[in-house]
């Protein structure tokens, strides 16, 4: 528990109404979207401007209270679970202003708590485009997106959040403002600290203002669905499309198990007898779109697609995407607990990964449906269980271990987009090396000697 006087100090910085001290309030900041044990913070503080944010950080540091910054708390890896040692949650949703949208120079400056979809909509109103679109964008924040380096459906062609961070200001652990990057397209002034901050999960600094790159929107797009009786053929099609020099904006995969769950829920008429489907969208100049769509169809035919459905208009396109959009809801409704994983492999290894996941499901007698961003090799095996059934949940944990081991053995990675957080830090050394961990620990020690900034996340052993 924090002393009365310390609580008062926080109140004097952000105002009484922005300090949450009641049991009920604190309890509701003890979890995020990961299936992990909750930890109740000692206090929740909500600054509403930069000055307050800096002071709050400094005060936490002075009093040795670990800081966990929280955007919307939608991360899937425990990144916003506070520290057990009187951890303090700093909420950013009081800092949610879009400070500038520069149409001429194609950038925007935002506070960290701006909701991603709201930002994208504001930008779109001005005829511009902010491509990163995590599935949680209706609630997730830009600060959280940068800290997790969030991806989305358009990652293949447009990249992920870090590709849009031109620069940012962040508070170091002492509450000093550090500036990095710039409003220019090119900038090689000093270390690429902005790059370091992407995916840092709140362990290296607290973001203040973020400069984001914008682009002109594509003029046209075309979507299609391809059905395969063999996962290998679907995977070959993915490689074939890239080899034909077409980079779709979206290239999504759904396996048979996943399709069955979606069909159970939506009755959308999915080809549940087939092994997998790909959902593909190309965008750009209208002429280019026609051309690329034709090339994609050719590749799909050659790869042995048993059926190809090309959307004729916006309504048909919407219908095609409906299946993908319903993947998570359908899986989530099947059983009480949904463990959404994020194993990522080189594109060519998708069939091996999917086969391994199916074997793992059988071996541990658990239900798994797999969908994901095939173009990125980023799969979301989703395990359906009931966490209250201790025996079943133990099997789930073992299965998750094996899924990650398999991904690593296929030269993949632990996380394509959901971050390491607490959930996956124990595997960090397996993917990287002891030296990598040491290097990271040293860096963290130099930046944050008392381990105040979101301790326990990413790097194991601290």
């Amino acid at each position: 528990m924090l002393s009365e006087s310390l609580v008062k100090e926080f109140k004097s910085i952000v105002g009484d109404e922005n300090v949450f001290n009641s049991e009920a309030d604190r309890q509701s900041y003890s979890y995020d979207s990961a299936v992990l044990e909750p930890v109740v913070p000692a206090l929740v503080v909500r600054p509403t401007n930069s000055e307050q944010l800096g002071k709050v950080v400094a005060l936490c540091n002075e009093n040795n209270n670990p800081i966990t910054v929280r955007g919307a708390g939608t991360n899937l890896s425990g990144g916003t679970i506070p520290d057990k040692r009187d951890g303090i949650v700093i909420l950013t949703n009081g800092m949610n202003k879009i400070l500038e949208i520069n149409e001429e120079d194609l950038y925007a400056v935002v506070e960290p708590g701006v909701v991603t979809a709201k930002f994208a909509a504001e930008v779109a109103k001005r005829g511009l485009f902010y491509p990163p679109d995590p599935g949680s964008q209706a609630v997730s924040t830009i600060g959280g997106n940068v800290a997790e380096n969030a991806g989305g459906l358009r990652g293949l062609k447009y990249g992920v959040t870090k590709d849009y961070v031109m620069g940012l200001d962040f508070f170091d652990v002492n509450g000093e403002l550090v500036k990095t990057g710039s409003r220019t397209v090119k900038c090689v002034t000093g270390y690429n600290l902005a790059g370091l901050m992407a995916a840092s999960e709140g362990t290296l600094g607290v973001f203040n203002e973020i400069i984001l790159k914008l682009t002109p929107p594509p003029a046209a797009s075309k979507a299609m669905m391809a059905v395969f009786d063999d996962v290998n053929k679907a995977s070959a099609a993915v490689a074939g499309i890239i080899a034909a020099h077409v980079v779709p904006c979206t290239l999504e995969f759904m396996d048979q198990a996943c399709m069955r769950y979606v069909e159970d829920y939506t009755k959308a008429g999915l080809p549940v007898e087939s092994a997998a489907i790909l959902l593909i969208e190309v965008d750009g100049h209208p002429a280019q779109v026609e051309d690329e769509a034709a090339t994609v169809v050719k590749v799909l035919e050659k790869s042995g697609a048993t059926k190809i459905v090309v959307a004729k208009d916006a309504a048909e396109k919407l219908k095609l995407w409906e299946a993908r959009r319903n993947a998570l809801p359908s899986l989530a409704r099947a059983r009480p607990t949904t463990v959404l994983e994020d194993a990522t492999v080189p594109r060519s290894q998708i069939p091996a990964m999917v086969a391994a996941i199916n074997n793992i499901a059988k071996k541990y007698d658990i239900q798994i449906g797999t969908f994901g961003h095939a173009g990125d090799g980023n799969l979301h095996p989703t395990i359906l269980c009931d966490k209250r059934d201790a025996k079943e949940y133990h099997r789930v944990e073992e299965a998750v271990d094996e899924i990650f081991d398999t991904a690593l053995s296929l030269k993949g990675t632990l996380s394509g987009e959901h971050g390491i957080g607490m959930a996956k830090s124990k595997w960090m050394e397996k993917e990287t090396s002891r030296a990598t961990i040491e290097y990271s620990l040293n860096m963290k020690k130099a930046i944050d000697p008392k381990n105040i900034l979101n301790p326990g996340k990413i790097i194991a052993g601290r």
């Binding site: 009920a24 509701s28 909420l91 809801p329 989530a332």
Partner: protein, 429 residues
């Protein structure tokens, strides 16, 4: 011991429902209360987390949970958008009853419950044992307590702009109505609901006019109780059960095809909640409810879907009217096109859509009483959308929303009239 047993069972059921929440946080996007306060404990995910705690260890701070649970409009927006299909409304209603009951328990019972909920096996064994010694622990026959509907009807006024009570309520004006089916061959039980009966009698009279015009026989028993939703949402099962049983007794074996009301809240309560919360009623009451609930239908839906009234073309150039989707009507009953169709039937009006037409107006029944400031903020946004639409008339399908929106508009001196959609249709007859 009987009600301890019941409470424990309710907690168990609640746990089964809550485990479906994957804490994805997507409910933040649609919750009107969260939009104002931006506090996690004001959104579904936070409330479920608190209730989970309550269920697992009988939280030290039941009042805290109660306070949070009450900061909810029961608008159902979160349920309509939840990817996991969590039965959020059931959880909240059940949760409120549990918390209320718990808080009304004697310290001894609280201690027993608190000690045992975390250990179901021991708990069940003790309950079996305890039931043999009931008299030792039970002081009253029933300790489920709380507020009642009358509280809802005698609100704290504050700076609200209240629509006046009608000079004569529908019931006092008409007493019992009992007419046979006419050319439609249909006979309905007309249930005006409290607000249309006592305040917006015009909406009630419009229904009667519509029934007359279409040759629909009407049975309006002079004695009808409130549908029970204010009591249930206050966590007051005793008052709720009384109202439901009173109504069921009267509606019982009636000779009618539908129960029609000009209020989405009443209809969704009769249609959905009556059967859902009937497990402990005597079998005959349950059977009656099963039959009655199926017959419940909103007036807009009745006129369009049953009587087949539909416009061929949308009129242009009349007085601009915009439609507000009441939460119970759209999110619970999925009725949204029908009231719009009825408005389009009237050539004197032109329907214009406001933005966020289906965003809650902030009334939320008792929520409006206890959290007027929040309710007002949410209502302000509704009012801004109405004014921005340029409409001169605001129409909706729910008298409770009419009350709230009238308050908001009149506080700002807006010259926008408020009408039930059935009134607009009835004007053409």
């Amino acid at each position: 011991m009987a009600d301890l047993n019941k409470l424990a069972k309710m907690l168990e059921e609640l746990d089964d429902l809550m485990v479906a929440c994957m804490k994805c946080g997507m409910c933040q996007a649609v919750c009107p209360v969260f939009a104002e306060t931006m506090r996690e404990s004001d959104v579904t995910r936070g409330k479920i987390a608190l209730l989970e705690n309550l269920a697992h260890e009988m939280i030290k701070d039941a009042e805290g949970v109660q306070e949070r649970l009450n900061r909810c409009l029961l608008c159902g927006s979160c349920a309509a958008n939840c990817p996991s299909g969590v039965r959020i409304m059931d959880i909240f209603l059940q949760g409120r009853t549990i918390v209320n009951t718990y808080m009304g328990l004697s310290p001894v019972k609280k201690a027993i419950l608190r000690g045992m909920v975390g250990n179901p096996k021991l708990f069940n064994a003790l309950l079996d044992f305890g039931s043999k010694f009931q008299g030792l622990f039970t002081s009253q026959a029933n300790e489920l307590l709380g507020s009642s509907c009358s509280k809802f009807l005698s609100p704290v006024i504050g700076d609200r702009h209240f629509s006046p009570l009608a000079k004569q309520s529908l019931h006092s004006k008409y007493g019992t109505i009992d007419t046979p089916a006419g050319k439609s061959g249909i006979r309905v039980l007309f249930y005006p609901g409290c607000v249309a009966d006592k305040m917006y009698t015009k909406a009630g009279e419009a229904c009667l006019k519509v029934f007359r015009h279409h040759g629909v026989g009407v049975w309006m028993p002079s004695a009808q109780a409130c549908c029970g939703i204010p009591a249930l949402s206050a966590g007051d099962r005793v008052a709720y059960d009384k109202m439901v049983k009173f109504n069921v007794n009267i509606f019982g074996d009636g000779n009618y095809d539908y129960i029609v009301a000009p209020c989405g809240s009443c209809i969704s309560t009769i249609h959905e909640l009556w059967p859902q919360f009937s497990a402990e009623y005597p079998k005959e009451v349950q059977d009656k409810i099963a039959k009655i609930s199926k017959k419940a239908m909103d007036i807009n839906q009745f006129v369009v879907d049953v009587l087949g009234v539909k416009p061929t073309e949308a009129p242009k150039g009349g007085t601009k009217v915009t439609f507000h989707d009441s939460c119970h009507l759209k999110k619970s009953l999925k009725v949204a096109s029908q009231p719009r169709d009825l408005i389009r039937m009237n050539p004197n009006y032109e329907l214009v859509e406001m933005s966020e037409a289906d965003r809650c107006c902030g009334c939320g029944g008792t929520f409006n009483l206890y959290h007027y400031d929040l309710s007002k903020k949410i209502g302000e946004r509704k009012r801004e959308n109405i004014v921005a639409s340029g409409a001169k008339v605001l129409s909706t399908g729910c008298p409770a929303c009419m009350m709230q929106i009238t308050d908001m508009l009149s506080q700002n001196n807006d010259s926008v009239a408020v009408k039930h959609s059935i009134e607009i249709y009835a004007e053409t007859l």
